[in-house]
Amino acid sequence: MYTERVIEHFRHPHNMGKLANPSAIGKVGNIVCGDVMWLYIRVEKDSQGRDVIADVSWETFGCTAAIATSSMVSDLAKGKTLLEAIAITNQDVAQELGGLPPVKMHCSALAADALNEAIHNYLSEHGMPIPDALRRRHEKVEKDVAALDKRYKAFLDREQAKGDVAAAGEPSSCN
């Protein structure tokens, strides 16, 4: 079901782990639905004074596809200017992996979203202008999170009723 490229990235993922002194972090996904991706970027100026993603790393809780897409998006983003990195789409991530099973396409969206969120956070923290496309995607991620929380509310209520809150974790606090 998975391509050789997916399996290869899953077996030997690139750029995994926490980044020392990141400039920004993008956190997406929800432990309740089984995928959480944290993407760290360090932004530096290049010789032409442009903002460049000098280093990138990630930590992911998720399936084979979630781990492979994390690895791939980090490869794609590394060395790119922020403007170039914003243009990376989930289709790019999936394509570079030789495709993903349809049911796993959301994992590639998650990877692209994590990169977007990291860049969005960097630009907002530095009071820099946020391109419209990035703002729209950021708003969509926020909406998706709200939708997921709603979708799984019944599950969460059930777990709360059973007094399992601590074990289950608060979804809003781990995003």
Binding site: G34, D35, T60, F61, C63, T64, I67, A167
Partner: protein
Amino acid sequence: MSDRVYLDNSATTPVAPAVLDAMRPYFDSLYGNPSSLHAFGREARRAVEASRATIAEFLGVLPEEIVFTSGATEADNLAILGSAYAPRRSGGHVVSTKIEHHAVLHSVNWLTSHGFDATLLDVDGSGRVEPDQVRAALRKDTFLVSIIAGSNEIGTLEPIAEIGAICRERGVAFHTDAVQAFGKIDLPTPSVDLLSASAHKLHGPKGVGLLVVRKKTRISPTLHGGGHENGRRSGTENVPGIVGFAAATRLAAQERDEVVARMRRFRARMIEGVGSIPGTRLNGHPTDSLPHIANFSFQGIEGESLVMRLDEQGIAASTGSACSSPDLEPSHVLVAIGVPLSMAHGSLRISTGRQTTDADIDRLLDVLPRVVKDLRDLSPFKVGEVTCTPKE
């Protein structure tokens, strides 16, 4: 790859050599259709009836109470839909549980979308239904209770004899899906009206199952045609498959004490070994369980990744993780026993067979802690008393 370790025997098992030997002539020399009048047909008929007698004796039922099917999914469908549409019945109520196999659950759900009512009973934290819950759920119009004998996901055994007695007392038909239990534990067939089993879970071939239909239990066929199996299941009998099913049953009967004792020992070893990895839990009952199934959850990692990492190391197991299912929902069984969702995603089902050795379990217990650590190193969550704590 000869050094692969197969620990997914609840999914399917290798056909035992003795079973394959028994089946082989029925492909190319004894190939008659049991319904034919000539000698070829009579040979095949004799084989089918001898097989039926073998399995009936093992189960303690009459040969004519066994209906061969294409597998346990068909047997479950025949039990549930066949009872619902039995002669002179219109509408009514079914009682089942939240932890049934999909072949039962989806059949019951289908009935509810076709004018029937159903009650799906809750289970306790180990996956057990109390007989009193069944008693309380029965209504005047209840025509069937269907409860799994031993869970295919977590192994927990249900109090089938007690539930059967309640159904008998109230005149309600009782079906049990005994797919994983058949050949492993004693089945209280006197208290059961309908029972499903499958050959390939017991070192027999795929594509053959059976439904026990006790005398006086009314069902309507779900496959219509030439009136095979006493009119209860049309379609030419799968002769090699049925012969293989009987051979697998005979083998299970001969070896059962020894194999089951070994499986129990493996299960205890796995529970101890996995328990020594931090942030794990056993899903299901520690002792009141099928001998060959052990289900665990691991904090901070996702089950599909775990299965894939084990596969790289040559170990085959399975998961109830959402990411492994087409609808991206975690296992309904793990949710029903109250496994927190964060841990339901990190489940691993290990199931042994007659071919499993101590060396296989050694290998699993050697590889598993490393693979779990490896995946936890990739994860943003740290393992602790509270699952969902970011690392810092």
